[in-house]
């Protein structure tokens, strides 16, 4: 049975499916307050047992801010609702949950929570010794003055926080044999988790093995390491018994790092022909209560992308990440890219309205005609020819004539650096493959088969893609940031070519038969330390019904993907990403009250889209070459960047209301203002 046949038969191996003799089940006591002093903790595993601080590993990992590191278990202070304070364990999960409610007493002294990121800028510092609540404070570009600009537009936009909400929550099983810690985990990167365990628990690399289980979605959530994993490992080592922890959905909403949560304050200068003369802006990331999420990184990453696919000569952006009494922000599919596109594309649409020009005409006027590096550091190829073909291929003008159409485009900045690893093991006629990044629903098996059947001339059916295992592949990066087919694919191509050479050297000539008869082991770290950006565009049409409800009618993507390694892969990534983009735009949000209590209580409240709310998706390909060995370009995050901007504009056209926030739910539409 291959992987998908197992999954449709209920024979997958997800982390919660693992059962071992003598296994203990872990449950957590979490803070009910957004901000409080802890006066006393009685019972359970506490900081006295595990007095460790979290390390920052995975996507957007940042170093520094030692005294703001997230404690594994809270000591004398809690900074968000859901923060782990104590842990309990039992032979069954039911008993463990009972113990969490009955066996631990915590006395808190609640403090006034800082919930709003903009208010946090002027609030008293959250921790003693801090001068402000800024975790990151950088300026990108150069300050400029444009006297008497004919058009100046200022606006403020918000992408509210959203839960990553993979259908499989987080989970881990840890075991210890007296020498070595082995963990089975649902993850995007066994390598970043291993690094995290070693750094946090002061373990030697050879004493830790991380094995990936079937991973039921991740979307950024499962690239890094979490406090619960450390407690599971600690307990397994202390008790010398296997320990399992599986997150509940409620815990996921409260205590798993969410994405977005960014405010953009923009100022745009233009002349009356529609030429953009410059932009200024503040990016304010709602980072949460501790360092080590992706918050510190994402502010400047968003700021860097604010010039979009445009030739904007003047740009000056203040990138800020601020402390708030919420769980630390993390990456969610797109991770800074959708926010940047939302802010600049909303401004360009405002400019079009101001000058009563067609939005695409304005975009063509400002597109780059040669490769360009913007003042904020964004690398863009000549974007005008791409835009011209997108407009034509998507039938933009016909759609506009029919009405309620929104268009948006963007530069996708895949996380290329520092490259990726791959290993090919040929033995007994089968070809096993490990990639340094671990698939969590992207079906890497499909492109892996396509690449190896092309490179090695073998039947795809002998290729077996393997889940991550640090004992099988010595190092690796991770599956995030639209990088797997580009970087993992390139490492795989190079490893395959090396293998081909080895067969050639031994037999004088390469043949698939010779390869499959032998035993071969090929490893490659494909190093890459530059950006490799590509362009994408989305078009959406909507219908507003008599009750005011927005329905998405058409969702068209036009992307430059280089070579399509596997069409099913590409279709799947586009479709899933479009649904998530529609979700963010119309439904998804984690809402907090003024005390920092989350008002979103279920996955339904959190707004994950259902099948009846999304249309069929159309994907059109822009023909181009990629110079990478895999011949691929980035894709995974593209639809989550382009869909929200196109959809926001389509709603603007349909309703006449100015759209400044996501989610654009009925409450928001009732509060939004007419713009013409």
């Amino acid at each position: 049975m291959d992987l998908t046949e197992k999954l449709v038969s209920g024979k997958g191996n997800f982390v919660d499916d693992i059962n071992m003799p003598g296994m203990l089940h872990l449950s957590f006591v979490r803070s009910p307050y957004a901000r409080a002093k802890i006066l006393r903790i009685k019972g359970g595993i506490t900081w006295k047992d595990v007095d460790l601080k979290m390390a920052s590993v995975g996507e957007g990992a940042t170093k520094g801010f030692e005294y703001l590191e997230h404690p594994v278990l809270a000591k004398d202070y809690v900074g968000y609702v859901g923060q782990p304070v104590a842990a309990v364990y039992a032979d069954s999960p039911y008993e463990a949950e009972d113990l969490a409610e009955t066996s631990v007493e915590v006395d808190y002294e609640p403090l006034k929570a800082i919930v709003d990121p903009e208010m946090s800028l002027t609030a008293e510092p959250m921790y003693p010794g801090l001068k402000s609540n800024l975790l990151a404070d950088k300026y990108l570009g150069a300050d400029f003055e444009i006297k008497d600009a004919p058009v100046i537009i200022e606006d403020r936009f918000v992408n509210h926080r959203i839960a990553t909400d993979p259908i499989e929550p987080r989970g881990i099983v840890a075991a210890y044999d007296g020498n070595r810690l082995t963990v089975w985990v649902s993850t995007q990167s066994v390598h970043s988790l291993k690094e995290g365990f070693c750094e946090i628990m002061h373990l030697e690399p050879e004493s830790v093995r991380v094995i990936q289980t079937d991973t039921g979605g991740a979307f950024g959530l499962k690239g890094g390491i979490y406090p619960e994993y450390i407690v599971a490992a600690y307990l397994a080592m202390r008790e010398k018994r296997p320990v399992k922890w599986i997150e509940t959905r409620r815990e996921h909403l409260l205590a798993s790092r969410p994405g977005r949560g960014v405010v953009g304050k923009m100022k745009l200068y233009a002349d009356r022909t529609g030429k953009i003369l410059g932009i200024k802006g503040d990016v304010i990331v709602d980072s949460g209560a501790f360092a080590g999420g992706s918050g510190e990184f994402s502010a400047r990453f968003i700021a860097m992308q604010l010039t979009g696919p445009y030739e904007i000569k003047n740009a000056y952006i203040h990138a800020m990440s601020v402390l708030t009494n919420k769980v630390p922000q993390g990456p969610y599919r797109g991770a800074g890219r959708p926010e940047a596109a939302f802010f600049i594309e909303r401004m360009v649409d405002r400019l079009a309205d101001e000058l009563e020009m067609d939005p695409v005409e304005i975009r063509l006027k400002n597109a780059t005609t040669a490769p360009y590096v913007s003042p904020t550091g964004l690398t863009v190829e000549a974007s005008k020819p791409f835009l011209e073909s997108a407009v034509k291929a998507m039938g933009y003008h016909d759609h506009v004539r029919k009405g309620n159409t929104g268009f948006g485009w963007f530069v996708l900045v895949p996380a290329t650096m520092p490259g990726e690893t791959a290993r090919i093991l040929v033995d007994g006629g089968t070809v096993k493959v490990w990639l340094g990044g671990n698939a969590h629903g992207q079906r890497h098996d499909l492109f892996v088969r396509s690449i190896l059947s092309d490179e090695l001339g073998i039947d795809p059916s002998v290729v077996e893609w393997q889940k991550g295992d640090t004992d099988q592949l010595e190092d690796g990066v991770g599956a995030w940031g639209s990088r797997s087919a580009m970087m993992g694919g390139s490492a795989l191509v190079e490893a395959a070519r090396k293998l081909r050479k080895e067969v050639e050297n031994k037999y004088g000539k390469y043949s698939p038969q010779k390869l499959l008869e032998g035993k071969w082991d090929s490893y490659e770290f494909f190093h890459y330390d530059k950006p490799y950006n590509n362009l994408g565009a989305n078009l959406i049409t909507v219908h507003q019904d008599d009750l005011g409800v927005i329905h998405v009618r058409e969702c068209i993507s036009y992307y430059d993907l280089g070579k399509v390694l596997n069409m099913d892969n590409v279709i799947g990534q586009n479709a899933g990403g479009c649904a998530e983009g529609i979700g963010q735009t119309l439904y998804e949000g984690l809402m907090f009250d003024e005390n920092g209590q989350m008002m979103t209580s279920s996955i339904a409240d959190a707004g994950v889209v259902t099948a009846d709310l999304v249309p069929r998706y159309k994907l059109l390909l822009h023909k181009s070459e990629s110079s990478l060995p895999s011949r691929a370009k980035g894709l995974g995050e593209a639809p989550t960047i382009g869909t929200p901007v196109a959809l926001a504009r389509a709603i603007e056209v349909a309703t006449g209301l100015r759209i400044r926030e996501t989610p654009i739910n009925p409450e928001y539409l009732l509060s939004a203002k007419k713009f013409h």
Partner: protein, 173 residues
């Protein structure tokens, strides 16, 4: 509270056990019957990953007590395939039409589809989308799932083998 004795027929096999009265059906299936194909995604009847058939009716087993299933018949994803290598047309269609990516929602999605196709044929796309709107998928954007269900319907129409016992209508909507 004292334990309860229950007898539940899971995929044709009678499972008797003494359980806590609060035990959920999904945990009975996963832990007592040892069938881990039925997944827990949300605990609140929203995601549908735990969907099974209870006396032929699609239910979300995370909000049914095992005690409520006493004396009844449960069909799980493992009960669909006939023998080791014979996938049901619904399962096969999900493989062929890429109706899954990470595979976590898949068991529930297939059980809902199986129930739907046994209840009604000649479904419009809108009816299919409505019927699976209680099952969440975060990877596929649903399009390939709709395609899989349409493909499964064609294959079931072609084969007499897959006319199941009577499937009652779902309560409520």
């Amino acid at each position: 509270m004292s334990n309860l004795k229950v007898s539940i027929t899971v995929n044709g096999e009678r499972k008797e056990a003494e359980i806590e009265p609060r035990m959920l059906l999904v945990h009975f299936i996963r832990e007592v019957a040892g069938l881990t194909g039925t997944h827990v995604g949300c605990d609140t009847t929203n995601c549908g990953a735990c969907t099974v058939l209870l006396d032929g009716r699609a239910v979300k087993s995370c909000t049914v007590l095992a005690a409520q299933a006493n004396g009844k018949k449960v069909t799980t994803i493992e009960g669909l395939s006939k023998g080791e290598n014979k996938l049901h047309p619904v399962q096969k269609a999900f493989v062929d039409k890429h109706g899954l990516q990470c595979g976590f929602c898949t068991s529930g999605m297939i059980m809902t589809s199986f129930w739907l196709l046994n209840k009604k044929r000649k479904l419009s796309e809108e009816e299919i989308r409505e019927a699976i709107s209680g099952n969440l998928c975060r990877c596929t954007g649903y399009e390939s799932i709709v395609d899989s269900i349409q493909e499964a319907e064609r294959r079931m129409d072609e084969s007499e083998e897959y006319i199941e016992e009577e499937i009652p209508a779902r309560r409520g909507r």
